[in-house]
């Protein structure tokens, strides 16, 4: 059963949804209170794209976890000011714009719903905000669930003409490598080259930027400390390291693809590798896209949530076998 929540926090009016079977008077009232708070990615409303967020919350409700989904200020139903451009909004979120309302929200929810602990989860930029939840070192935050966390800061370019090409990001580098591979194997591409219709400006800029990227990589070879890409979100990485130091149980779900794995490795992470010592569990979802919807991912993500929560935060229903 769902209930709409409206809270006034730090001068913001925030709209959210609670999924809780104990709201239904016909269901037995439960005494445990491990809550789950889910944050949407970027600009999306709190049900997430493809209603993944509400679908996960419905599943967790059935297991007995009161699950909250909230719109951050200016997004979804919550009033507030946001920038005109998407990249500026993303940059603000990645730099922690939602961190203060999140801390206030966690404290309020714990108080209002008598929660003994909270697991905070989020998607993409929401995963970054979720990770920032531990910065206050609140004893309330007992777990993190990060879906497709973004390790890089988003570039905000002006809408006017660009002058010098900026260094390639990890994502752009991989995309360009893929593009070169496809162009080399493309008959049409060779035909354009032979007929002098090739996009010389593209190739000129690309080689320059690839050379620059390769040089940066070579420079870091043999160094004890890996040189991180210039767009690395250092603040987020610090929170990640703090979570590992504090041994906060963390579930990470990401797309199983070669490029995505390379992306995370570039920032010093090991996708798909479980780290028992720091209580990190990382699963990769095959045959899907960043939105984690297609190819059966919507169901698989919900299943991972269920299994991980049942293992780490057993409830009255934890006697049930893990979902397979």
């Amino acid at each position: 059963m769902r209930k709409v929540i409206q809270l006034d926090l730090l001068g913001h009016r925030m709209f959210g949804t609670l999924h809780d079977s104990s709201l239904d008077p016909s269901q037995p009232q439960r005494t445990y209170r491990t809550g789950v708070l889910l944050l949407s990615f970027g600009q999306q409303p709190r049900s997430w794209v493809g209603d993944l967020g509400s679908s996960i919350a419905d599943r967790l409700e059935k297991l007995g976890y009161p699950t909250f989904r909230f719109d951050m200020p200016g997004l979804g139903d919550s009033p507030g000011a946001i920038p005109i451009y998407l990249e500026e909004l993303w940059r603000d979120i990645l730099l922690g714009a939602h961190e203060p309302p999140l801390h206030a929200l966690c404290e309020n929810l714990a108080h209002l719903y008598s929660l003994k602990e909270l697991v905070v989860g989020g998607f993409c930029g929401g995963a970054v905000t979720a990770l920032y939840a531990i910065n206050a070192r609140s004893p309330l935050i007992k777990g993190l669930i990060l879906l497709e966390p973004e390790m890089a800061l988003v570039r905000t370019s002006s809408t006017t003409k660009s002058t010098m090409p900026e260094p390639l990001t990890v994502d752009a580098y991989q995309e360009n490598i893929d593009l070169i591979k496809s162009r080399i194997t493309s008959l049409y591409s060779w035909r354009r080259l032979i007929s002098a219709k090739a996009d010389f400006r593209f190739w000129h800029t690309l080689w320059f930027r690839l050379f620059d990227h390769a040089m940066r990589k070579i420079k870091s070879v043999g160094k004890r400390k890996k040189t991180l890409p210039p767009e690395t979100n250092q603040r987020m990485l610090n929170s990640w390291n703090l979570a590992r130091q504090l041994r906060i149980p963390t579930l990470v779900l990401s797309v199983a693809s070669i490029n995505r794995a390379k992306y995370y490795r570039a920032y010093g992470l090991n996708p798909g590798v479980e780290h028992l010592k720091s209580k990190l569990s990382w699963h990769q979802i095959p045959n899907t896209t960043h939105a984690l919807l297609t190819g059966g991912a919507k169901d698989l993500v919900g299943m991972h949530f269920e299994n991980w929560l049942k293992k780490n935060y057993p409830t009255q229903d934890s006697g049930k076998s893990l979902t397979t």
């Binding site: 002006s158 896209t289 919807l293 297609t294």
Partner: protein, 280 residues
């Protein structure tokens, strides 16, 4: 930040559920503190479009509330904040949702005209509802010719997703439709399309609805508003980003553009229609 941030009445907004056939139908009401001119029921776009239009749709609701309209928006069953599984519902159910909200608004104190404003799918449903004699004014934005055309358009998302997946499901849109007609379920951006959804879509053609109950003395006004380039891009993903400079580098995408021009012109349409109705 743009300059159309609502100047007031946000504090009056509230959200709740209406009960309908065992499901919870989510709605948000935007009351106005000004003298009430009319009620507006916003019928939103199809499930796959909903998250991408949400921010501007909410800002439109706030703009209207700030100009003397009481506005209600809602999520169709099986979508967004409303409960239920998407695959259990179809166009008939969503039309019932719209009707349910209209009836709920009708029971509120103070009798004023009811405006139905539909975007995409919402325009198709609003067209049907008006034909059934519910509502005084229908405002439509980016209305597809039919529900079939709309679904066909949305299948582009499925094709785009499949194109980047390692799976070998490289089908055309017509092949996906053939699958639906053969009784298969097709998943599109997290929503399971059923054969029933496709079958029902054949009944929804814009402007082809005859009213069985409409009395000749009841005046109903239809406004099919043409959106400017910025609004069409924002509310329907139509055309390129009009704010992008020619020859610019990587373009910045719009999330909250200044739609004052569009909002003002549509506000003008509604004003004229209310005058025509003789209620303003």
């Amino acid at each position: 930040m743009n300059n159309i941030l609502p100047k007031n009445f946000e504090h009056l907004e509230y959200a709740d559920y209406l009960a309908i056939n065992g499901e919870q139908l989510y709605y948000v009401l935007h009351p106005t503190a000004l003298p009430l001119r009319a009620r507006i029921l916003l019928a939103g776009p199809f499930a796959t479009e909903r998250p991408h239009r949400y921010i501007s749709w909410v800002r439109w609701a706030r703009f209207l509330a700030a100009h003397g309209f009481e506005v209600m928006r809602f999520d169709y069953r099986g979508v967004g904040e409303s409960t239920g599984y998407f695959e259990n519902f179809g166009f008939e159910d969503w039309l019932n949702d719209l009707r349910h909200c209209a009836e709920w608004l009708d029971k509120r104190p103070l009798s004023v005209p009811l405006i139905i404003h539909g975007l995409g799918l919402g325009a198709l449903l609003g067209d049907k509802l008006l034909a059934y004699g519910i509502g005084n004014i229908l405002l439509t934005w980016l209305v597809p010719k039919s529900a079939r055309e709309m679904l066909y358009e949305q299948l582009k998302i499925k094709m785009a997703n499949n194109f980047i997946l390692p799976s070998n499901e490289r089908k055309t849109r017509d092949q996906f439709i053939a699958d639906l007609e053969a009784g298969q379920v097709v998943e599109v951006e997290g929503h399971n399309w059923t054969p029933n959804l496709w079958a029902e879509s054949g009944k929804y053609v814009f402007g082809k609805n005859q009213s069985p109950s409409q009395s000749p003395d009841t005046q109903r006004i239809r406004i099919d508003a043409e959106l400017d380039a910025l609004a069409a891009h924002t509310f329907g993903g139509v055309g390129p980003n009009p704010l992008r400079s020619s020859g610019g580098g990587s373009s910045m995408r719009l999330v909250n553009p200044d739609l004052t021009e569009c909002f003002n012109s549509n506000y003008g349409f509604l004003n004229s229609a209310l005058i025509k109705l003789g209620t303003n």
